[in-house]
Each structure stands twice: as C-alpha cells, then as structure tokens.
C-alpha cells in the first residue's frame, strides 16, 4: 500500500516517542494532555470533545424521534421536549460543529503548511479550554438552572432564542442564563482560535509555499477563520445585550418599553447564517483534499476553488434575513435577500463541478473516506437545491418553520458537514494514531448511515410540505403524518447503529489496528511526509516546497508538478 518514500527528504526520522515517555504513568499522561500547548494534542482534544457531544446530541435527537414516531405519544413531556430541541440544536452547532471545525484546523493546518505549531500555542490552549467550559456551562443548567416549579431546568427557548421568550418575564430561573453564558464563553474561545489559525496561515507557511501553492484545506480554513471573526462577534454583542436585559433591566429586546424583538432576529441571524458556512467550508476543505487523492488526480480548477470560497465568504454575510421572510419585511428586503441567497448557489455550483471534474477520468479508489465524499456530493447537492427553494420568499412563506426546513438544514449539516467529518476522521485517522482502521467496519458504517440518513431526512420533507410544523411535541392521528413520522424515526435506528460501529471502529483500531506507515493513501500534502503520529515538532527540518503537491514532486522526481503549475 505504502510506497517507500524517503521521509528524510521532508519529514523527520527521529524516534517518535522516547523510552522515558512510554514508561509514563497514567496520571502523567493525563497531566500532559491537560497542560499541553501542542496543536496536535489540542486538535485531538477538540475532535474528541466534538464527537463526545455528538453522541449526547444524537441521544437527544433519538428521544425526540421516539416521541414523534406515533401520534398522541406520551413518551416525553412537552416541557422536556422543548428543552431537548433547544439543547440538541445548541449542542450540535456550538459543541459539535465548532469543536470539530477547530479540531481539524488545529491538527491539520500547521502540518499541511509545514509549520511546527500555530502562531500562538498558549492562546490555542486557552481557546480550547474556554470552548470546553462553554459546553460544561450549558449542560450544567440541567442540574444548576432552577426553573419554574415542574418546568425542569435546561433552556427551552429554541436554539435561536427569539425575544421576548428570553426575557426575564417569560424565562424564569437561570437556564437561559446558562445558555447565554455557555455560548458566549465558547464564542470567545472560537474567536481566539480563529485569530490563531488566521495568523498561522498568513505568517507561518514554509519556504516556497506561496498563497497560490497552499493546499486548498489551508485556503478554506483561512476564509473560515476570517468569517468566525466577523460572524461570531455579533452573537457575542447580542448576548451582552440580552444579559443586560436580564440582569440590569435594560430594554434592548423588551417590546413593552419600545424595544424590538425583530432586532434580536437580525442580530442572531447575522451570526447564524454565516455560521452555517463556517461549518460547511471546512467540509468543502476535506472534500478538496480527499477527492483528488482517491481519484489519483490533482484538484481540478484550483484558482476557481479559491475564488469560489472567497465569494461564498462574501455573499454569505448578506443573506441572513432569508430566515425572516415570514416576519413581514418590505418587498425590497425580500427581493434583496432572495436574490443574494440564490447567488450563493453559483460559487457552490462551481465547487461541485470542480470536484466532479477532479473525479472525471480519474482512477477512482472506493475506500471509506471516498465513499463518504461521494455521498456528500449527492446529499449536499440536494441540500443546496432545497435551500434555493426556501430562498424564494413566497415559497418560504408557505414552508417556513415546517419540517421541510428541518429536513433542509439537516441535509446540509448531517448530509454535508457530518458526512465529511466522517470522511475526514477516516482519512486522517492513520496519521493521528499511526494505525489503520478496519475498512470492513468503515463500509458497514457508511452503508448503514447513508441508508438511515435517507430514510430519515428524505422522508422528513414530506410531512413538512403537508403542513407539519417544527417543534411540536406531538400531533393528532388522521393528519396523514403518522406513517411518514414512523419511517423518519426508523431511519434513526440505522444511523445510530452506524455511529456505534464508527465509535467501536475508532476505539478498537486506535489500540489494535495494523501499523499504517507514514503515507497509507499515497497522498501529496506535507502532513504525510512526517511520521504517523507526527512528532511533537512535526518536521525535523522545515520543508521547502515548489508546488501544490510537494510529495508528488518527491515521489516523481522526473515529472514534478512545479514544471506545469
């Protein structure tokens, strides 16, 4: 599998772990993880943190689906159902999505640009621990945020927390405060790490790696971190206002004193919509690295990919009010936001065609990471199409806040983002652990998950079109939603089994998998030039690159890329 590449050329041949390190006690190794400033350890902690919360949010989703499987079901109380969809949404976006995004950025960016760490290693650790504290704060509300008698305690305001529901009068107790503080604290962590990644990519590239020779993953993470800086801060600002409303008695979102509930919507979605692209751009980044390797071709249309990403970054900050068509905006606003929303389809379309162009005529290898990439292409295409449907204001008036919307954004975030997270975990697992995962279990995971995903989310569009609103805890029989909801819930079972296989595969392969070697996929970017797992300093000697595929140049000295770029 692995062609003998001379790691000495680019990477290190130093011993990975000294003898003293292997004899460390259990508590020493815990201690070394707690105090680390190493981007690889922090990256893995981010990823494990995200996967842990993925399991929790998955359990929450399963509970909700059991409740909705049959009409007039009494599995959950209405109050608990409200808490579940709030905490599920919040967890998935802030404590699954963001940690996974930053985890991969942390782990991969320095390795791929030939650096030894991020620009500010200690700030990096600070950012991680802030994000971790945010998740703890949110879940602490289950035991610490006393509510009205009998109403439980976790936040029940929905993940976008519309005013005036979040006001002191309607959200008694402290569960909403935990929601605000948890997000705010993790937001500070996100801003810190985004600044770190941004600076790293601009200042720490190895010799020869000009911006136009950077791997696409680095380019896309540059755009992503710039968007985090501009998009997460408005949420922080809005949450400061909400805290002032709740604790100091100010009137930002207090309609009785002339405040505006609509302003919160604007502020939230000025964050909320770019956030979706913050999550999906790293997914694009993984696809742009994995698809070429498994098609045995260089990426098709590199400059167009970079341009399309920057274009998505720009357009995505001017589309937020398409979440708000139903509140009754002026027709000029409706038109503007409908058009800008549909414009996102252009750069995204360019990307999809470029990935297809990369696969076209390639020598495809259908290993597990590639299978997930192919599923991603189909699923993200459908997600984009329903997105354009919802972007048309009159269509949106009919279907906003229905299960059609729920199906649409789960197609983007599960069918797009999460599918590519699986691809990325499988692809870089051999690098991070030095061991190969079980390809058979990987394929079981893939087929079960894709089957379950489509059972659940393809079907979910239909009750939405039939008028089933989101966030209802139950529904009457005889509406024609019953069978459809049952199919939706049954799909969860397949996804859950798939994810359990995934977790089992990771845990087992990390300890017992066969050695992977430095370059198991015969890939071309710098992270495969060093050992697996990489030493703390990444590269014994900082590499010098001449093309976008430095390892290709080393493996094919008679036909290097730099002659043609």
């Amino acid at each position: 599998m692995s062609p003998a590449i001379r790691t000495g050329d680019v990477g290190g041949t130093l011993p990975l772990v000294s003898k003293a390190e292997t004899e460390k006690s259990f508590f020493d190794s815990i201690h070394s993880w707690l105090v680390t400033v190493d981007h690889k350890k922090l990256g893995l902690m981010y990823i494990m943190y995200g996967l842990f919360f993925l399991l929790i949010a998955g359990i929450e989703a399963t509970l909700m689906r059991i409740q909705l499987a049959f009409p007039n079901n009494h599995f959950l109380s209405p109050q608990f159902f409200n808490q579940l969809f709030t905490v599920h949404g919040t967890t998935m976006v802030f404590f699954v999505g963001m940690p996974l995004v930053f985890g991969f950025a942390n782990y991969l960016v320095p390795l791929m640009i030939g650096a030894r760490d991020l620009a500010f290693p200690r700030l990096n650790a600070f950012g991680f621990w802030l994000s971790a504290l945010g998740g703890v704060l949110l879940y602490f509300s289950f035991i610490g945020g006393e509510g009205m008698a009998g109403a439980g305690s976790a936040p029940d305001i929905g993940w976008f927390a519309y005013a005036p529901l979040t006001g002191k009068a309607f959200s008694k107790g402290h569960s909403t405060d935990y929601w605000i503080l948890g997000l705010m604290v993790s937001g500070f962590g996100s801003i810190a790490t985004a600044a770190n990644v941004f600076t790293t990519i601009l200042c720490m590239r190895c010799r020869g790696m000009t911006l136009s020779k950077m791997p696409l993953l680095a380019w896309l993470n540059l755009v992503m971190s710039g968007m985090v800086l501009l998009a997460v801060s408005p949420l922080t600002a809005a949450q400061i206002m909400l805290l002032l409303d709740r604790f100091a008695g100010s009137h930002f979102f207090d309609t009785q004193a002339g405040g505006s509930a609509t302003l919160w919507m604007h502020f939230f979605w000025i964050f909320g919509h770019p956030e979706v692209y913050i999550l999906i751009i790293p997914a694009f980044a993984f696809a742009s690295e994995i698809i070429p390797v498994f098609s045995r071709k260089a990426i098709f249309g590199y400059p167009a990919m970079v341009g399309a990403t920057v274009a998505i970054g720009f357009v995505s900050v001017s589309v937020w009010a398409h979440h708000m068509f139903t509140i009754g905006m002026t027709s000029a606003s409706n038109t503007f936001f409908a058009i800008s929303t549909m414009m996102v389809g252009i750069p995204t379309g360019i990307k999809i065609f470029n990935w297809l162009g990369t696969m076209w005529g390639g020598k495809l290898r259908f290993d597990t990471p590639m299978l997930f990439c192919i599923a991603f292409l189909f699923q993200f295409l459908i997600a984009g199409l329903t997105g354009i449907m919802l972007g048309a204001a009159p269509f949106n008036w009919q279907l906003n806040d229905s299960y059609f919307v729920v199906a649409h954004f789960h197609f983007t975030l599960v069918g797009g983002f999460l599918t590519m997270i699986f691809a990325a975990v499988y692809y870089w697992f051999p690098k991070a652990t030095g061991r190969r995962f079980s390809e058979t279990l990987g394929k079981w995971h893939f087929w079960l998950f894709v089957l379950g995903f489509h059972m659940t989310f393809d079907t979910m569009h239909i009750p939405g079109i039939l008028g089933m609103p989101r966030r209802i805890y139950t529904y009457e029989a005889g509406r024609g939603w019953g069978v459809l909801n049952l199919i939706v819930t049954l799909g969860v079972l397949f996804q859950a089994i798939g994810i359990l296989i995934f977790v089992f595969n990771l845990l087992r392969s990390a300890r017992k998998g066969p050695p992977a070697g430095n370059d198991p996929w015969d890939a071309w970017t710098l992270e495969w030039a060093t050992s697996s797992p990489p030493p703390e300093f990444n590269f014994a000697e900082i590499p010098t690159v001449k093309s976008r595929r430095p390892l290709w140049d080393i493996k094919h000295p008679t036909d290097p890329d730099w002659k043609y770029e």
Partner: protein, 209 residues
Amino acid sequence: MNGAVATTYLESTTGRQTVTVGEQTGPIASKGVIGMACLIMAESAIFAIFVVAYLYYSGKDLSGPTPRQVLEWPILNSICLLSSSATITLALRSLRRGATKRFSVWWFVTIALGAYFLLGTGREWQHLIHDKGLTIQTNLFGTTFYSLVGLHASHVVVGLLALSIVMAFAITGLVKKEHAERVHVLGLYWHFVDVVWIVVFTVVYVIGR
C-alpha cells in the same frame, strides 16, 4: 527533542517570520500585528452591532429624557483620548531609537490622558444618573447610551491595565529597544480604542443628539 531541533523550534516561534512571496523572500507583518488585526476585526464587529442598536433605537423612546435634554459634548475628554494616540506614537518612536527614559515619560502621559478620559466618563455618568435621573432602565436612550459608551469605556479600562503593566516593566528598566515590536502591537489596540471613540462620539453626540 534534541538540541538542534529545539533551537530551530524556538527561533520559529519568536520574532518575525520570513515568508516567500513569489520568488523573493521578504518579511510580511509580524504574527503579533496580524493577531492584533484579527482581534480588532472581531471587536469592530461587536461595536458595529452596538452602534446599529443605538441608531435603530435613536428617537424611539417612549419616555424622556432625550439625548438633547441631557447630553453635553465631552470636548476636553475627547481631545485627551485622541491626543493619547499621538503620545503613544511618540513613546514608540523613542523606544525604537533606544531612548527608554523618554519612552517612559510619553508612556506615562498616555496613561494619564486615558485615565483622565475615564474620569470624565465617570463624571458624565454621575451627572446623568444623579442629576438627570437617567439610568440604563429609564428608557431606550439610557439602555443604548450606557451600553455603547460603557462598552467603549470597558475597552479603555482593559487598555489602561495593559499600558500600566508595560509602565511597571518600564519603571523597573525591563522595557528595551528589542521589545519595540511587542509594545507596538499593544499600541495598535490603543489606537483602535481611540478610533472607536470617534465613531461613538459621532453616533452618540452628533447624530443621536
């Protein structure tokens, strides 16, 4: 980690990086400057949201007092804060030349000007709260005024704390010519706080009044 590797590692984490641009090798902005630029981008977005809220609610109060009735132009205050941008530049220029004594003097003047600004804001708030009865709970003007001006003032406080730490090092003789780059990065933050004041002043005391 062997010795040679450790040395190169340390070198790569301190000071300016050289980055290849095209075929030539030249330094681009240091990590500190880019990192500070990122912080300023994020902070600008936070201030932008507060400014939008101020303008959106301007004139929509259901009860008094209105800005025109109670606000006075903080002219002296503004002159102090804005001129502190000039003094910090002079301080940095001295430090780059190695004139650490002169640096300390200008740095102290900067802190004094910033502190005077903060004192002026405090006096203004005391006047508004005690004499005019305007609190954050009174009306939308109170809500947006205290939060926007307060957000800026809190940034002045953070800036003054950071400047004071450098002052403490300067008094003990630990700030030298080679630290000019790091002090410069802090200076960028101080300039940002001053520029934001121009925006806040325009919004609160000119447009909003």
